[in-house]
Amino acid sequence: MRQVYLDYSATTPVKKEVLDVMLPYFSEKYGNPSSLYTLGQESKDAITKARGQVASLINADPAEVFFTAGGTESDNWALFGAVDALKKKGNHIITTKIEHHAILHSCEFLEKHGCDVTYLDIDCEGRVNVEDLEAAITDKTILISVMFLNNEIGTVQPIKEIGEIAKKHGILFHTDGVQALGNIPIDLKSLNVDLLSMSSHKIYGPKGVGALYVKKGVKISNYIHGGAQEIKRRAGTENLPGIVGFGKAAELAKENFDSHVKHCSDLRNYFVDKVLNNIPNTYLNATMDGRHPGNANITFEFVEGEAMLLSLDMQGISVSTGSACSSASLVPSHVLTALGIPVEKIHGTLRFTFGDFTTKEDVDYTLEALTNIVNKLRQISPVSSEKGW
């Protein structure tokens, strides 16, 4: 059976070029980067190289990049580190309702420990309003954390404007750049971003490795305590093969940026057009303007997402859904809820994310399967466009 992976925002396959540079670091070049003999120093050099590769992708200085165990750790570090470092100044955080759980659940934890958190709404296009943001600032505000690009609906936030507001008020600005990395241009020299989270496995690198960009001069407390790794900012023996792989993935992402964006957006646009024209009662959620090049988030009325997902899976197609039925906690997607989509429609929402290995044949195969599946499930459904909800 044909296998069609359309969930590149969940994770990506490790590219062969990436795997190839990682492999020697498992059993040949395994030295501890902290060791002083040659074997160790070679490992240290490999990490230095990777740091440069990642820094180059976001136009930062290598000294501003600290490796972590992934996007989640980077998000946690940014929040907890900032709150601790600035506790004398205040306890108020401004974020949004559509952040990844790595941010939202960290904020909930911080609320239990004395922080006040403002969760900004988004408009029907999926963006926060910068005036609302500025209005939420109090003299106790110590941190603004607004994601660069949303993982479910693919919308980009006004990071430049938010950076300017943060600077004007002297407030730290963190952005979760996990989905933005490699998918939209990130030029940290032109943005007032103090902290930016990254993850390797969304850009064809290995899982369990990421980085936090900390702008020169910005002081946040450490989060992982122990040895002197990462210039004493992040303890723990480095995930050497992982970091080497992340570096290579970042280098490739920079090199192939234009072709990657064009490839993904061509296929995505073709797919969205066909779905909206060929399958009645379907809607694209959030604006196309400035969107993640590979993201399509579509509501299919009168059917439920997990049923569609399972049926697609039976035909070798992997996608994800915002439906409550598919989540372990049985709550509908908080992002689609914030976007103002009624619950019954959230249930019928699928996210397709296209990537470098997606082909036109994959998309055509998916379009055919999807059309048949939606038709079949609509026959099973007691609700329809004639009968209404």
Partner: protein, 159 residues
């Protein structure tokens, strides 16, 4: 491992008795799309025996499989026997459901009762098995599992 067993997948992919009986003797809907799942069961009754049953469902794979098996269990049974069908039995017939999906079987159980309730109303009959049944219960069906014995209290994630 796949999230559902083969039997569930079979009833999901090849649902039995899918559709709607015209001029049904009883027609019940339970749940609502806002709650995430909604089932409709229509029945044909002769001499107090359910001779045909069909379903339509808006919901996940296990909701569709649960309604499919529910109709299979109903056909050929007397009304009293059909009212005795429990959600536990639906789960057993399906060879098990993930804990988080037990509520889909509860919905099927209620849809059976809703169809029979309608039949009872139309034919002026009363059945002991319908006592206390409210066809318009407005609870969020994603919330009911924790009240059910079937989940064994293991679904504490469902709040």
């Amino acid at each position: 491992m796949a999230i559902y067993n083969e039997k569930v997948m079979d009833h999901f992919m090849n649902p039995r008795n899918m559709g709607e009986i015209e001029n049904a003797d009883g027609k019940g809907t339970y749940g609502s799309p806002v709650c995430g799942d909604m089932m409709q069961i229509t029945i044909k009754v002769e001499n107090d025996v359910i001779v045909d049953a069909k379903f339509k469902t808006f919901g996940c794979g296990s909701a569709i499989a649960s309604s499919s098996i529910a109709t299979v269990l109903m056909v050929g049974k007397t009304i009293d026997e059909a009212l005795a069908i429990t959600n536990k039995q639906i789960v057993e017939e399906l060879g098990g459901l993930p804990n988080v999906k037990i509520h889909c079987s509860v919905l099927a159980d209620n849809a059976i009762k809703a169809a029979i309730y309608d039949y009872a109303q139309k034919s002026g009959k009363t059945y002991a098995g319908l006592e206390g049944f409210d066809p318009n219960a407005e609870e969020d069906h994603h919330d009911v599992a924790c009240d059910e014995e079937a989940c064994g209290g293991s679904c504490e994630k469902i709040k």
